[in-house]
């Protein structure tokens, strides 16, 4: 990493901000001086490792950071966790519940932080939520309207790791596959391994479909963490410089 002397801290370039759709009422986009960086990818794709490394780097280069992620809102995270454990909510309900969780963080963390000039690192964003719902048969137009509240990020990185490797990483870490990450609720297969492979393949296909509407950078997540991070830093540097 190139060392930036303390007196040469890069002041982030102002970006042209927009919401994907109707947005949040009464938000002055001009005042959002910070940057929003999203890291997407399946469980085990290395998102948290990458984000932790990015925080180190950003803070080292003089930028204040804030982290957000799914199911972390003050408003509904506990209730959402409970509901998910019982698998009792039907599709639209779960979808709207997740959207509430997202909106709460958007309005109470992301937007205020951007206003204060922070770099916001989002461990997943609306794309995972949309992809999960689309795989479960929800209407894409309905989801696009719902998530029209979301702010367009300055950069979105999708860590692409093939299901074969995700499964290995998952076993190395937990020795078990996660119910939801295996899409067991879909009834694709009673065999959890089969279900995991099928589900992850379908999710990747859906992400590629979403890439057409929400341009994001697909990053090869099979490489060493440092190599991946170097690529992310290079791209984020360009964003900060307004290139």
């Amino acid at each position: 990493m190139r060392r930036v002397p303390a007196n040469q801290i890069v002041v982030p370039h102002r970006s042209n901000r927009r919401f994907y759709g109707h947005g949040i009422p009464k938000v002055d986009l001009e005042r959002l001086a910070g940057k929003l960086i999203v890291v997407e990818g399946a469980d085990g794709s290395g998102r948290s490792t990458q984000i932790a490394m990015l925080v180190e780097w950003l803070e080292g280069t003089g930028h204040a950071t804030v982290q957000v992620g799914l199911k972390r809102s003050t408003l509904v995270s506990e209730e959402l966790e409970k509901a998910q454990q019982g698998n009792i909510l039907s599709r639209s309900t779960l979808s709207l519940f997740y959207a509430t969780d997202f909106a709460d963080q958007l309005e109470n963390i992301i937007l205020p932080a951007l206003k204060s000039g922070f770099i916001v690192l989002a461990d997943r964003y609306i794309y995972t939520l949309m992809a999960r719902d689309m795989v479960r048969g929800m209407d894409e137009a309905w989801l696009k309207n719902l998530y029209g509240i979301a702010l367009e990020p300055d950069a979105v990185f999708y860590l692409n790791v093939p299901p074969e490797e995700l499964v290995q990483r998952s076993f190395a870490k937990n020795t078990a596959l996660d119910y939801w990450e295996s899409g067991m609720d879909l009834g694709m297969s009673r065999d959890m391994f089969d279900s995991f492979m099928k589900y992850q393949k379908t999710m990747q296909k859906t992400f590629r479909h979403l890439q057409a509407s929400y341009a994001f950078t697909i990053v090869d997540g099979t490489r060493q963490a440092e190599i991946i991070n170097a690529e992310l830093r290079k791209k984020i540097s360009a964003v900060l410089a307004g290139r």
Partner: protein, 248 residues
């Protein structure tokens, strides 16, 4: 958007809408009693009553954490839960479902709170329209007085305090309710509201409601099968029976 009848559901949905204090809850309760006493398959559902979402909603309201967007989304979540787990299955099973408030409450309130109307309507686009929607149209002052008489302690969101319309709770409530009324009136024609004069006596209103339900719903098809042998010829009730005849 289609009604449940247009979607060929065997069940029918009747909704009541109106301002707080318009008397709609009393009216739908009396309608429910009338139908139940005739041995009908009736189910009643209230706005904002889903068990799952309740704790989040009350936490958000107590701590004043809600913004117009999250207020809207959390109510949509509540509605979706009741819709998918209760309303739709019951309507499939041929029930007469009565709803104290339906999607129009969200259309009115969320828009007054500043959410874009198209966004709010989009959220609820998974829901079918009621087969009958009663709108209890009261003078603003009458509704306000009813609420203020019975429950002088107004709640923060109920009074629309989050909108900063006034620092006075009661003044805020007046302005907020007035704006909601405007929204209701603006959608009255579009959604075929059956307008009931809520300034009338309880009995007069109930008579109108029962008559309209009897005219528009084939009530005979909602009788419980097991009640039939016991009551081969249930007393026909084309006209409303007044709910509370004074005791002699």
């Amino acid at each position: 958007m289609k009604t449940f009848a247009e979607l060929n559901f065997p069940g029918r949905l009747v909704a009541v809408e109106g301002l707080d204090g318009s008397g709609k809850s009393t009216q739908i309760y009396l309608l429910k009693r009338w139908l139940e006493l005739q041995g009908m398959k009736v189910y009643f559902s209230e706005w904002n009553s889903s068990e799952l979402v309740k704790s989040a909603t009350s936490k958000g309201k107590k701590r004043e954490l809600l913004t117009p967007t999250t207020f809207s989304l959390i109510h949509a979540t509540d509605f979706a839960d009741r819709y998918e787990r209760h309303l739709v299955p019951l309507l499939r099973a041929g029930y007469l479902v009565l709803c104290d408030r339906y999607i129009f409450t969200a259309f009115a309130r969320d828009v007054v709170r500043g959410c874009p109307p198209e966004w709010v309507r989009g959220l609820y686009s998974f829901a079918a329209l009621p087969d009958l929607t009663f709108f209890f149209k009261s003078d603003l002052e009458v509704s306000l007085q009813r609420i203020l008489d019975g429950r002088p302690q107004l709640k923060y969101f109920e009074a629309g305090m989050d909108l900063r319309l006034s620092t006075d709770l009661y003044e805020s409530f007046r302005i907020f309710q007035g704006r909601i009324l405007e929204q209701y009136l603006a959608m009255s024609t579009e959604f075929n509201f059956l307008v009931v004069d809520a300034n009338e006596l309880v009995e007069k209103q109930q008579e109108v409601v029962r008559e309209l339900v009897a005219q528009n719903v084939n009530l005979a098809s909602f009788r419980r099968a097991e009640r039939l042998p016991a009551r081969p010829t249930p007393a026909p009730q084309p006209k409303a029976v007044k709910p509370e005849e004074p005791a002699e």
